[in-house]
Every structure is written in C-alpha cells, then in structure tokens.
Symmetry: C2
Subunit: 158 residues, 2 copies
C-alpha cells in the first residue's frame, strides 16, 4: 500500500517533489511512499510528506484510490493542507516547489497514477465537487510502459 | 490490507457469515479477508464474498476505511449489491444469512471494526447520506481486548 497526499497551500498552489531516486529520477511527483507497520494511512501520508518535502501538513479526506495490479500496489492519496512554507528537499528529493494549476509540469510527472490523480483533482476542485475518485491503472501489452486508466463509478453515485 | 463488503439485498437486508475458523469461531462477520497479489481492492472484496458466502455481488463505492495499527491492518469495506439469493456457507463459514437491520446479532459480531462499520452504515443509510467513513480502532491498555474507536472527519467535510 502506497500512501501520500496532495498538499495545498492557501493560494491553491500544490506542492510537488522532484525525485532524487530511481525509478523516474528527476521527474516530479506528489509526496507518497510505502506505508509502515504501526501507523495509520493518514499518519503514513503525513510522514512521507515530512520525509520527502520536509513539509508539515494536516491530512484531510481520502481523495483517490487507485489499483495498480500489475505491480501489486494500491495508491491512497489524501487531501492535505500545508501548514507553513518551511519546506525543502528531503534526502529522496532534488527539489520541492509549489505549482499553480496552470504551471504543473505535466510532461515531467513521474507516474501515471500521479498525473491522473492531479488531473482529476484540479478538475474536481475547479467544479467544486471533490469526492473520492477510484480507479485502476492497467498496464497495456505490446508497447513499453503504456497504461490505460479505468475510472470506477464515483462514490457519490453508489 | 483487508478488503470486504456490506452485501445488501433489494429489501435492505444485509448478508452476514458465521465464522468456521479462529479467531472468533462461531461469531458473525461481513465477508472480508486479506487482499491478494494481482487483484484490485474491488476484485478482492468480491472474491472474499464468493469464498466465504458463495455469493455474487456487484461491488460499489468504498464505504469505510479503518486503521487497526495495533495489528498492522487497514480494513476497506465496500458497498455491494447481492445479485441473487443463491448463497451458502463457504469453507470458512458455518452459516450465511440475511439480516434485517433490527435483527443484526450485535452481541455476537466477531470484530469491533465490523460492528462499528455496520452501526455507522445502518445509521447513514437511514438518514440517506452514505459517504466514506474513516477512522481508527485503538486497542486500549489494561483490560483485555477493549477498544476505543476514533472517527475521522467525514470526507464531505474535507
């Protein structure tokens, strides 16, 4: 289980980290990582944010739950309020920065699950309805590293 | 990660299984079990329901997410529509039955996380607002097998 968050500052900018580790060295991602024993999913999301971005957050509602069955992972990303601007790269990050929605580096995001969650989140926040999103990232055969995204019914619609 | 569901029949009755295995042999529970590799959380919930209750369901929205940090588990329970009445005990169940909300065997439920999820679900369904519930089951010190339940903010409230 991978837990992480979408840290928002009060001006709606979103905090991203540029990876200092493989895979996808040098690409941007949301703070997220493997859950550890003895912690809650919310504590794990906050811990990963502190480790990767030296940032303190108040973790809110679960925003997205994506299955990645080809690598036996489930991604849980939470909404989170950044508590101050006192952040900086942890040991697994080259750089940490706040991005306006219009400035998100879409072509330099590390993982399909991150790109899809961010895309949905910005659309949902723009329209005012931010409920849980759920889906599956399916690795497609044939070409290398191509994916199909299957969104499940929204939770509001049962 | 433990995945399961709250199977509902069209008359609002809920399917429960009486455990044929330890722990909590002979007590009632919702169909749920450990997620396996290569499946989605929704597929895992449907598989467990088929294995424990020989029942086919359409898995819907995530209803509850509970942390059980004292045993390093996260419980994900989904809403589910029972597709027919062709169910029966699987090898891990003594008995499988549909219960009216007024007939739930509260004193013979197997786990706090199941009792709390059912209690919340029946209250939410009764009031018409069934969003995601999230919380933590905290084992309290001192007395044996006592728990405190901490509910998190509802997802609707950010």
């Amino acid at each position: 289980m991978v837990v992480g968050c979408i840290p928002e500052w009060v001006d709606n900018r979103i905090l991203l980290c540029r990876r200092a580790i493989e895979p996808r060295y040098g690409l941007w991602t949301l703070p997220a990582g493997f859950m550890e024993n003895g912690e809650t999913v919310q504590q794990g999301a906050a811990r990963e944010t502190l480790e990767e971005a030296q940032a303190r957050v108040a973790v809110g509602a679960l925003y997205s739950m994506f299955n990645l069955p080809h690598i036996d992972q489930v991604y849980l990303l939470f909404r989170a309020r950044l508590l101050d601007l006192d952040f900086g790269p942890g040991s697994e990050s080259l750089e940490v920065a706040l991005f306006d929605p219009a400035e998100i580096p879409w072509d330099a995001l590390a993982f399909p699950v991150i790109a899809e969650s961010l895309r949905l989140f910005l659309a949902d926040r723009g329209s005012g309805g931010v409920g849980l999103r759920s889906g599956t990232i399916v690795r497609t055969q044939g070409e290398q590293m191509r994916y199909r995204i299957e969104l499940h019914e929204s939770s509001a619609a049962w």
